[in-house]
């Protein structure tokens, strides 16, 4: 009956043709834009000039859509032509959010926190790695850069840590396919259209095994409908060291050598140094070969000479420099880095689809001489639109050539990074004057006066750690609209990454004149102390090769059902996933059995010539089925649930199947309560709960020993085979056919199961004044139970390490985001402001039974650990022995304190407060953008501080060079501690620094808080008078990390740095992180 009426109504309606034009915001026609009449089959596509004609009747609604643009609906009344302006997705990101599996949703439908960062926001400061362009821009997102080198590791975490030993890093998905986090460094930031952050596991449950840590969904540019568009960008940036540690320039080199150490009458002794003792005062005089700087002051009258030796050549000629500190003598080692980036992209779109082809080249010369990182990227992406069948896909190839300085050498076996050799030089040496290491005899290995650490310039040219990486990622998504309400989708993604990483240290045979006093007689050592050559007159050629490759094939097939019934609409997704990951590592060393530490691998083969190699292979397979249901009610209430069942190859067949569940709801109260809407208020309340898993069987293992970071290259092993530990062949076995294995001393609990994360979140979004003010607040709580931990059992159990399910950690936090668009608007002056603030907190509820402290990084002077009842992770350091009041106990005779036997808790190392401020001012064609980043609530240990104090190089070690009474110290008198008022330190004065103070780590722990001006950009859009070829031209002055403010106690380095790279053990820096840098330059952007 209803139908009959409907038919009748249609029959009597007046139909008419209507013409129109579809253009974009800039007025350009959008070719191929789809124009449909709501509720009818079929439709038309706009012509090349954007025009179309369609037959409608009054009251019809036109739906105009085009790829890359937001869809628009226009109600037709009595007009005969329409002009449709489609806004690009960029500008309307608030309206579409890419969620799990690439499913696009209206943000109203989401019951969880998300954030979208557009291409423009990411690249406004011309960052080489787009992840650094995320820092400070999204609440709840912690981007931590391991260092400022040319190839830094980045740790990306959302909402803090959940897993004690497992991976806490967010999953990265590129165009629907998960990739290894290392892949982000190979991406050209300008190829990225937008990045969607799904912060919690609620949003990500559908991704399965890697979802617990949130997901970063990267969508690359696929072109947009419209005419040919060519874009060229050049960015030229300089980079300089911004902060060196505090170094003293007052005192000269001396390691405590006194009278008699070197008798000037000894014919073999001490060329270039006249005497070690000032006969008048008995003061230790400068010792040219020392790395320690406990000598006389440079301005001292005690030293009667105006020069000091710094080198000697084969003829015995000595090079002297003035006996005075050189301004920035050590800092001058660093170059001004230079990076140049050129990008070219071409895109075109029409009714059949679109494409985007781009190429880019980046040459980045770092601040360490000779270091460079070259990246080339070629990318082709496109879409195809054939009525019911649509496809999108692309392929990106990138190569990286990373050329870094390898480890140094002292005595042939002590491997040190170049920064160590920079800081262990005295203030009278200007490292910039000793660059010609192969021609200048004083700059080479044997002529260099410093007996302990070589000229770092030598290391730059003779120790190399190189990498060539090739990365290919391809993906294809096919959609078929089977029925008006049923769509099927198939997606396949493939990622292959190979790395070839040779490293070497050149050999060197010292001339006899430079042999040290420890060498066989006769001794020649001209400086009387032993050069590096002491005992090691021959440095062997050491070479190493690491090859790694991994590939990842990921396929998804799913259907999407969209149905509407009365007030309800349903979207049901169901599908399956298969993922197959393979990893291979090869390692070779020519010195494996003599010099280089051996890898602990059951595949290692020792060759008779002292070399060795190994081959390791890992496989990981995942199968999954999933389902996702969204129910909407009247467009203002949404209920969403997801379910996934994973089968993981790396687990035991009995436990390898497990499920993820997620449910969330969203209520747009302002849509329901029209009074609110009428007042320009937007109010959304949302909440969700999920149960996900985290398989933390193993972190990536390292391979390689000569590489620049000393810890090798990470190879993904996925935790494959971990639950079946390898048996070790007994000594001598096999004998003939008789095997003789011993079981591994590590074992795994039977039925080891994944970690379970129980996560809930609740939030609201409030828009006022038609969203001019937008406030978003989300609170979350995650309880991670059943963690996978390698405990240390009693040896009486038969083993020494036991992987078991234990431990519980709770994380919670509040994420706040306040957007003011505009904050101030005065005529043509616009000021937009976004403030993000995150307060996060976590607590280890309990650990392995029988223990409260579980180290995640072991050490003798410090540890980073999980401690029951405390925030995670905790830093523990060696401190002095103290009385119950916390005062340092000194010896009643020597006046010196001693280190305590056990380590002391120094505080948590994960930031608890993160504040980001993004400001954007525009005036006519000018725009000034900046990002400020503040973090606090964490402690950091500066390991390098102890090295600097040990050697008397630090500015702090310029003090206390005479005996003194340790402030606030106590002595023990008859078993009671009484204040020490008069017992001064004893022994050689320098002993305080090298033997006492630097033996404990507590002085080097500081508040890790900082304020940073992350990004600054001043751009100008040059007005062009309808130039037929050049359509857009802009130029920008950009800068990164221009300013950093730290507590005055932190005199060492950038507290954001982490010696553990992307590992969990954040909280300390070492000599492997070179000083922080700032970058600034100019960017030119032209559109054709």
């Amino acid at each position: 009956m209803v139908m009959v009426v409907g038919l009748f109504a249609a029959a009597i309606a007046q139909t008419k043709p209507i013409s129109g034009k579809v253009i974009d915001k800039e007025g350009k026609p959008i070719e191929g834009a789809s124009v449909k009449v709501k509720g009818k089959q079929g439709g038309v596509a706009a012509n090349s000039d954007g025009t179309f004609t369609v037959t409608v009747k009054s009251g019809d609604v036109l739906i105009v859509s085009s790829i890359g643009h937001a869809t628009k609906q226009i109600k037709i009344s009595n007009q005969t032509s329409v002009s449709v302006v489609l806004e690009s997705d960029d500008a309307t990101m608030g309206e579409v959010v890419v969620t799990a599996l690439g499913i696009k949703k209206n943000p109203k439908q989401l019951g969880y926190a998300t954030a979208v960062v557009t291409s423009k926001e990411l690249t406004q400061a011309s960052v080489p790695n787009f992840v650094t362009g995320l820092a400070g821009k999204v609440a709840g997102v912690d981007i931590r850069l391991a260092d400022n080198g040319i190839n830094p590791a980045v740790k990306i975490t959302f909402r803090g840590s959940r897993s004690i030993l497992g991976d806490n890093s967010a999953l990265v998905v590129v165009d629907g396919n998960p990739v290894d986090q290392s892949y982000v460094a190979t991406l050209n930031p300008d190829d990225i259209d937008n990045v969607t952050i799904l912060k919690g596991s609620n949003a990500a449950a559908l991704y399965g095994k890697d979802a617990a840590n949130g997901v970063m969904i990267i969508t690359t540019k696929h072109g947009k409908s419209g005419p040919w568009s060519v874009n060229y960008k050049n960015s030229t940036m300089a980079e300089t060291v911004s902060y060196m540690p505090g170094l003293q320039t007052e005192y000269s080199p001396n390691g405590g050598e006194g009278a008699g150490f070197n008798n000037p009458s000894n014919t073999n002794g001490c060329l270039g140094c006249v005497s070690y003792i000032d006969p008048a005062t008995g003061t230790a005089l400068p010792v040219p070969f020392e790395n320690q700087n406990f000598g006389t002051a440079y301005n001292s009258k005690d030293f009667p000479y105006s020069q000091i030796a710094v080198g000697i050549d084969t003829n015995g000629n000595i090079k002297y420099v003035p006996f005075a500190p050189v301004k920035n003598g050590r800092r001058n080692f660093f170059n001004t880095g230079l990076s140049e980036q050129n990008d070219l992209s071409i895109s075109k779109g029409g009714k059949l689809g679109s494409f985007n082809i781009s190429g880019s080249n980046v040459i980045n010369h770092g601040v360490i001489p000779t270091e460079k990182n070259i990246r080339n990227t070629i990318s082709a992406n496109g879409t195809l639109n054939l009525d019911k069948f649509t496809a999108s896909g692309g392929i990106t190839y990138s190569s990286q050539n990373i050329d870094q300085v390898g480890l140094g050498f002292s005595g042939g076996t002590q491997y040190r990074p170049v920064y160590w050799d920079v800081i262990n030089q005295s203030a009278n040496v200007n490292l910039a004057d000793f660059r010609n290491v192969d021609t200048d005899p004083y700059a080479g290995l044997q002529g260099w006066a410093n007996a302990y650490y070589p000229n770092p310039n030598y290391q730059v040219y003779h120790s190399k750690s190189q990498q060539t990486k090739h990365n290919t990622i391809a993906n294809l998504t096919l959609n078929y609209q089977l029925l008006s309400w049923l769509k099927v989708t198939a997606r396949v993604g493939y990622n292959k990454s190979t790395r070839n990483a040779p490293a070497y240290i050149d050999s060197f045979r010292y001339a006899k004149y430079s042999y040290g006093i420890f060498a066989a007689k006769p001794t020649y050592d001209p400086f009387g102390a032993g050069n590096i050559a002491s005992g090691y007159p021959f440095l062997p050629y050491q070479s190493e090769l690491v090859k790694t490759d991994f590939d990842d094939l990921n396929t998804d097939e799913f259907f999407t059902i969209n149905k509407k019934k009365n007030d309800f609409e349903y979207t049901l997704v169901g599908g399956a996933n298969l993922r197959s990951e393979n990893s291979h590592a090869y390692w070779y060393s020519n010195q494996a059995t003599s010099v280089i530490a051996l890898p602990n691998s059951s595949t290692k083969v020792n060759n008779a010539d002292g070399s060795a190699y190994m081959n390791e292979n890992y496989k990981y397979r995942t199968q999954a089925v999933y389902s996702d249901l969204l129910i909407g009610y009247q467009g203002w209430a949404f209920l969403h649930g997801s379910f996934r069942n994973d089968w993981l190859s790396i687990l035991d067949p009995k436990t390898r199947s497990y499920n993820y569940y997620g449910a969330d709801a969203s209520l747009i109260l302002s849509d329901k309560l029209s009074s609110l809407k009428d007042d320009g208020v937007y109010l959304k309340v949302r909440g969700g709960y999920s149960i996900t898993g985290n398989v933390s069987l193993s972190s990536n293992s390292g391979v390689g020993y000569l590489g620049n970071n000393g810890s090798g290259f990470s190879i993904p092993n996925y935790g494959a085979y971990v639950i079946y530990p390898t048996a070790i062949p007994g000594s001598g076995f096999p004998y003939g056919n008789t095997n003789g294995y011993s079981l591994n001393t590590g074992a795994v609990q039977t039925g080891l199961s994944p970690e379970r994360d129980y996560s809930s979140e609740l939030g609201f979004e409030l828009g006022l004044l038609k969203s001019r003010i937008l406030l978003e607040v989300t609170g979350y709580n995650t309880v991670a139970k059943n963690q996978t931990l390698a405990s240390s059992p009693s040896a009486a159990s038969g083993i020494s390490s036991f992987l078991l399910n234990a431990g519980k950690m709770t994380s919670r936090g509040i994420e706040t985001s306040l957007k003011l668009t505009p904050f101030i608007k005065l005529g043509k002056f616009d000021w937009n402001l976004t403030v993000n603030y995150t307060k996060q907190d976590n607590k280890v509820n309990y650990m392995v039974p029988g223990t409260d402290t579980f180290p995640i990084l072991n050490g003798t002077t410090f540890e980073i650990a999980a401690i029951s009842g405390s925030a995670y992770p905790q830093l523990l350091v060696k401190d002095f022995k103290r009385d119950p009041q916390g005062q340092i106990i000194v010896d009643g005779t020597t006046g010196l304190p001693t280190p305590a036997t056990s380590l002391k808790v120094a505080g948590n190392t994960q930031y608890t407060d993160l504040l980001g401020i993004t400001s954007n001012m525009t005036f006519k064609g000018f725009s000034l953008s900046m990002v400020w980043d503040y973090r606090s609530g964490a402690k950091i240990l500066n390991y390098v501080g102890a090295a600097l104090d040990f050697a008397g190089i630090s500015s702090s070690s310029g003090e206390n060079r005479e005996h003194f009474v340790v402030p606030n110290s106590v002595i023990s008198v008859n078993g009671k501690y009484v204040p020490n008022t008069n017992i001064a330190t004893t022994g050689p004065p320098s002993q305080w620094w090298y033997a006492t103070y630097s033996n404990v780590m507590s002085p080097y722990v500081v508040n890790a808080a900082f304020w940073k001006l992350r990004e600054l950009s001043l751009a100008y859009q040059i007005p062009l008078k309808s130039n037929p070829y050049l359509k857009r031209l802009s130029v920008a002055l950009v800068g990164q990390n221009l300013l950093m403010f730290r507590p005055s106690t932190n005199q060492w380095t950038d507290p954001e740095f982490s010696a553990q790279g992307s590992g969990n053990a954040v909280g300390y820096t070492s000599e492997f992180q070179t000083p922080p840098t700032r970058r600034f330059g100019i960017t030119l952007n032209a559109g054709f």
Partner: protein
């Protein structure tokens, strides 16, 4: 009306569907998930069975017996050292300044050995002799642990799925448990049949009778230790079981040794030879130079005109003296110091010793002397000495001459009134350098060799010249299993706390 919808269906383009379906058809199967079961980088415990583990477990046990007790070789007067240079912890152990670290390696190695045997017990072919044999070997290792430490983790040990922090059991309970364990092993051995696993039995090649004889001998050793401080009814009942069984003990010629195929090749040498002997090319290993004869033993052998002196020690080139424990070579020129002898270091391919036949016969001699089993203790003692001579490379005739002509009560009980003295003294000589733990245990149990004539360790300050009664629990237990090890109370003392059978 309805035709409109049907019309849609007809328009489905088959071509695209085929593409979709072909992508969908990537098969999901169990085989893919099972990739984890095979590790290309090594052999996993899932890929091996008991027969792949047993031979090495035996090698480890024998290696522990001969190699892990250098300190006992010093304490029992067999070895001293040559140089003023001391290896890590050496001086402390020579001065009986016990440290927790001394027992660390023994603890770890023995328990991991037990863990390996447990694997053989539960992962062997049906009918295999290896589970029964492993039960016997495991009992031997546990017995050694009791003899070193006293109370030890036993019922909850060696199986991390049972406990990662196992509790300690009273030594007396462990001993009783071991008898039951060996009995269970004997049942399994008897029930076994010849299988392919016999090839991995590098001790008896699947000879069930010999395994049972060895098991009975081990039981006898444990039971004798329970006299007189243990449960005598239990001892009597257990001995009655052995008599009923009828298989008997190891007899003359039946040394319990293992040889998977030792040879003078790199990595293939007999473990004792490899540590205390010589390189493939003949050069002396560090330990061979480091350890030399202890004056205590040299003096005793000379005093009793024991022809074994030239076999226990390398006395060639006029090297006829030794150092006292803790003393270094200043008193005697190094050239005069005797080294480990050719009866102990026979060749790189010699079998590894687990229990010599002489030990079995000494045990029988003592049991006969105590009236616990039938037999003539004197003739058994003579046979035991013959076996010792035979093992070291001397003739039976030489043994008989030595035994019958000696006027010393440490050799022939006919010369004295306390037959046990000769039995334990002779065992002390017979087991020298191959099973020092056993002679240290027998010393602690019987007081022989007695400390006045001669003292077994001279060179230590007299006030401290008391042999430890046990080793301290290892530091790792205090770090990791603190609750259980601290429940042992006086455990930190190695001089007042004795093993339950000790004096």
């Amino acid at each position: 009306m309805l035709t409109n919808n049907n019309h849609t269906m007809n328009k489905i383009n088959n071509k695209y569907l085929i593409i979709l379906v072909s992508l969908l058809s990537v098969t999901a199967c169990k085989k893919q998930l099972d990739t984890n079961l095979t590790n290309p980088n090594g052999v996993t415990s899932a890929q091996i069975t008991g027969k792949d583990v047993f031979a090495n477990a035996i090698q480890v046990t024998s290696g522990n017996i001969t190699n892990s007790y250098a300190f006992a070789n010093e304490w029992m007067g067999y070895w001293a050292r040559t140089t003023s240079y001391s290896q890590s912890g050496q001086e402390q152990q020579e001065n009986f300044a016990l440290q927790n670290s001394l027992g660390d390696g023994i603890w770890q190695s023995h328990y991991h050995n037990i863990y390996d045997y447990n694997f053989v017990v539960s992962n062997s072919a049906t009918g295999s002799i290896l589970p029964g044999a492993s039960a016997v070997m495991k009992a031997l290792v546990f017995e050694n642990l009791v003899d070193v430490f006293g109370d030890i983790p036993y019922s909850a040990a060696g199986n991390p799925n049972v406990s990662t922090l196992p509790k300690y059991d009273a030594a007396t309970d462990v001993y009783k448990g071991l008898i039951a364990d060996i009995n269970a092993g004997i049942v399994k051995i008897k029930a076994s049949s010849a299988t392919g696993d016999d090839a991995s039995d590098i001790v008896f090649k699947g000879d069930k009778t010999k395994w049972v004889q060895f098991a009975n001998t081990l039981k006898l050793r444990i039971l004798l230790r329970m006299v007189p401080n243990g449960d005598q009814a239990f001892v009597k009942a257990a001995l009655a079981d052995i008599a009923t069984d009828g298989t008997g003990y190891l007899v003359a010629g039946e040394d319990v040794t293992a040889n998977p195929g030792y040879a003078n090749l790199e990595g293939k040498q007999n473990p004792f030879w490899s540590s205390y002997g010589f390189e493939v090319n003949g050069g002396a290993k560090n330990n061979n130079t480091y350890y030399i004869a202890n004056k205590t033993m040299i003096d005793y052998l000379n005093a009793t005109s024991d022809p074994r002196i030239g076999y226990l020690y390398d006395t060639t080139n006029g090297r006829n003296s030794g150092n006292y424990l803790g003393a270094v070579s200043t008193a005697n020129p190094v050239s005069s110091l005797a080294h480990i002898g050719p009866g102990i270091l026979k060749s790189a391919s010699q079998p590894a010793v687990i229990m010599l036949a002489s030990q079995s016969i000494f045990l029988q001699a003592e049991a006969a002397q105590r009236g616990l089993i039938s037999g003539n203790y004197s003739s058994l003692l003579q046979t035991a000495i013959e076996e010792s001579f035979r093992y070291l490379g001397l003739t039976t005739a030489a043994a008989d001459a030595y035994y019958t002509t000696s006027k010393d009560d440490r050799v022939n009980p006919a010369n004295g009134s306390y037959p046990l003295k000769a039995i334990i003294y002779q065992k002390w000589v017979a087991l020298a350098e191959t099973d020092a733990l056993e002679t240290w245990s027998e010393y602690r149990r019987t007081g022989f060799p007695d400390r006045t004539n001669p003292s077994i360790s001279v060179g230590v300050s007299p006030a401290n010249d008391v042999l430890p009664k046990r080793l301290l629990y290892p530091q790792s237990e205090y770090n990791l299993n603190s609750k259980n090890v601290n429940a042992e109370g006086q455990a930190s003392d190695g001089f007042t706390v004795k093993i339950f059978w000790g004096q």
